[in-house]
């Protein structure tokens, strides 16, 4: 089996597993919606204030939702021993990790992207910024999954991994948050956004090339 075939097969397997447990796809979305609903309740429903905050709020909520789902990248495979088989297989582990991350993003990141404009509208974001919001999430959420995969790989063997995972991963999410929210802000005030989006794309390119390698070596340590 070539590497590419193995990649596709693993991707298909992960997607099939995810489709068998649809509730697990819906729950993070629900969480995303609820966090965003909490903000107007907490800070007040003043339209100007909400509009000003909308970019940051959507991005922070997306970040938290991504964090919540990270554990599922490797957890169930770790528990039933699939991960060990992947480690033993002849295929390069980093490519297998990448397949799992892509599957994870398709299941958790992509739906987030589709709901985001609706929620942004609830917060009164300017329609002009919607396209940028989608584009920044499209570039940014895969980075969240990729960086998160390193954190999960490091903590997968631990019993109470949740809190430690967020401690490890959240500081590393800061650049994505800054440029993601900044792009949307700039679009809302009618400024050019190409710079921010290019930087997000650069983050994505870097995470795509480096994160699977780091996650693979972390997995080897966790399972040794």
């Amino acid at each position: 089996m070539s590497v590419w075939q193995a990649f596709i097969e693993l991707l298909k397997r992960d997607l099939r597993l995810a489709m068998r447990r649809r509730a697990e796809i819906a729950n993070p979305l629900l969480f995303f919606v609820m966090v965003i609903v909490l903000f107007p309740l907490g800070v007040g429903a003043e339209p100007n204030l909400l509009e000003r905050m909308s970019a940051g709020v959507v991005w922070v909520a997306a970040l938290l939702a991504a964090l919540l789902t990270l554990d599922s990248i490797f957890r169930s495979d770790f528990e039933d021993g699939t991960l060990e088989q992947l480690l033993l297989s002849a295929q390069p582990l980093s490519v297998m990790v990448l397949a799992k991350v892509v599957a994870h993003w398709l299941v958790t990141g992509l739906p987030l992207l589709l709901v985001a404009p609706l929620l942004a509208m609830l917060l009164g974001m300017k329609p002009a910024a919607m396209g940028t919001l989608m584009l920044s999430l499209l570039l940014g959420t895969p980075v969240l999954s990729l960086i998160g995969a390193i954190g999960v790989a490091l903590t997968v063997g631990l019993r109470r991994a949740g809190v430690i995972l967020s401690l490890l991963v959240l500081p590393l999410y800061v650049p994505v948050l800054i440029f993601g929210a900044a792009a949307v802000d700039a679009a809302a005030s009618g400024l050019p956004v190409a710079g921010q989006l290019y930087i997000l794309a650069a983050f994505l390119a870097m995470a795509l090339s480096l994160a699977p390698v780091a996650a693979a070596s972390a997995l080897r340590i966790s399972l040794s």
Binding site: I150, L154, I164, L167, V174, P175, A218, I221, S222, S224
Partner: protein
């Protein structure tokens, strides 16, 4: 094997490290006391008050060296992580994990002293200044490293997992720093006063350099002490430790 590699590998041996560090510690402590006493006396008493900030500028003699150490220790840790992962050197692991709490402490000191200085100077304890924010994030990364190390039960994999995380961090720290700088210039103009004033007078600069050396020596001393303890704990069963403590 050339002499450098020989020297390098010697440091990887716990008994050798234990012996040599034991001999070095008194000298390092002496130097530390000298540089600290000179730095403090010259900085707090001899140096003239700043013409703009008065006496409150004197906090730089603690704040600036601590902030430098926050970054410096992370670099040491990253180097140790690389050595640990590539050459599987036990001592690198010990150095890495002994350094992390010290680095976190320095980052914390830098934040606290910065905030103490900020109150009279900027009129607020905290401002989302780029340097403050990235120092805070650096502190979080240190705490994450410490948390991961204490969470993994198996010592060997704890060391290697921590090393991987440290290296991931070292790639990210510059990105985080420049993102924060960029974010800061975007969200708020520089409303705070900067230390861009006239170049520092020598009688202010020398104590600062002396304090910086003192802080570095302090780090080496504390790291060595903590590493010695860690070595003894890890090698309890080996012969040289038993001979050392005079057991059977």
């Amino acid at each position: 094997m050339n002499s450098f590699m020989k020297w390098f590998h010697k440091w990887g041996s716990p008994p050798w490290f234990y012996r040599v560090s034991g001999k070095m510690l008194p000298w390092l402590t002496g130097l530390f006391v000298i540089t600290l006493v000179y730095g403090l006396y010259a900085g707090l008493v001899l140096a003239p008050a700043d013409y703009q900030q008065g006496d409150s500028f004197r906090i730089i003699y603690v704040h600036v060296p601590a902030a430098w150490m926050g970054m410096f220790i992370y670099m040491v840790m990253a180097a140790a992580a690389l050595v640990h992962l590539v050459w599987r050197m036990k001592m690198a692991d010990v150095v890495l994990i002994s350094s992390a709490p010290i680095g976190a402490a320095f980052a914390f000191i830098a934040l606290v002293t910065g905030s103490l200085w900020g109150k009279p100077m900027w009129g607020t304890w905290w401002t989302w200044d780029a340097r403050l924010t990235s120092e805070l994030l650096l502190l979080f990364i240190y705490l994450g490293i410490i948390a991961l190390h204490s969470a993994v039960e198996d010592r060997q994999s704890a060391g290697r997992a921590t090393a991987v995380l440290t290296l991931v961090g070292v790639v990210n720290i510059p990105i985080i720093h420049y993102s924060v700088v960029w974010w800061n210039t975007l969200h708020q103009g520089t409303t705070v006063m900067r230390l861009d004033g006239p170049a520092m007078a020598p009688e202010m600069l020398w104590p600062l350099l002396s304090m910086a050396i003192a802080f570095k020596l302090y780090y080496v001393i504390v790291m060595m002490l903590s590493a010695r303890g860690e070595i003894l704990a890890r090698e309890t069963k080996s012969r040289w430790v038993r001979e050392l403590v005079g057991g059977e």
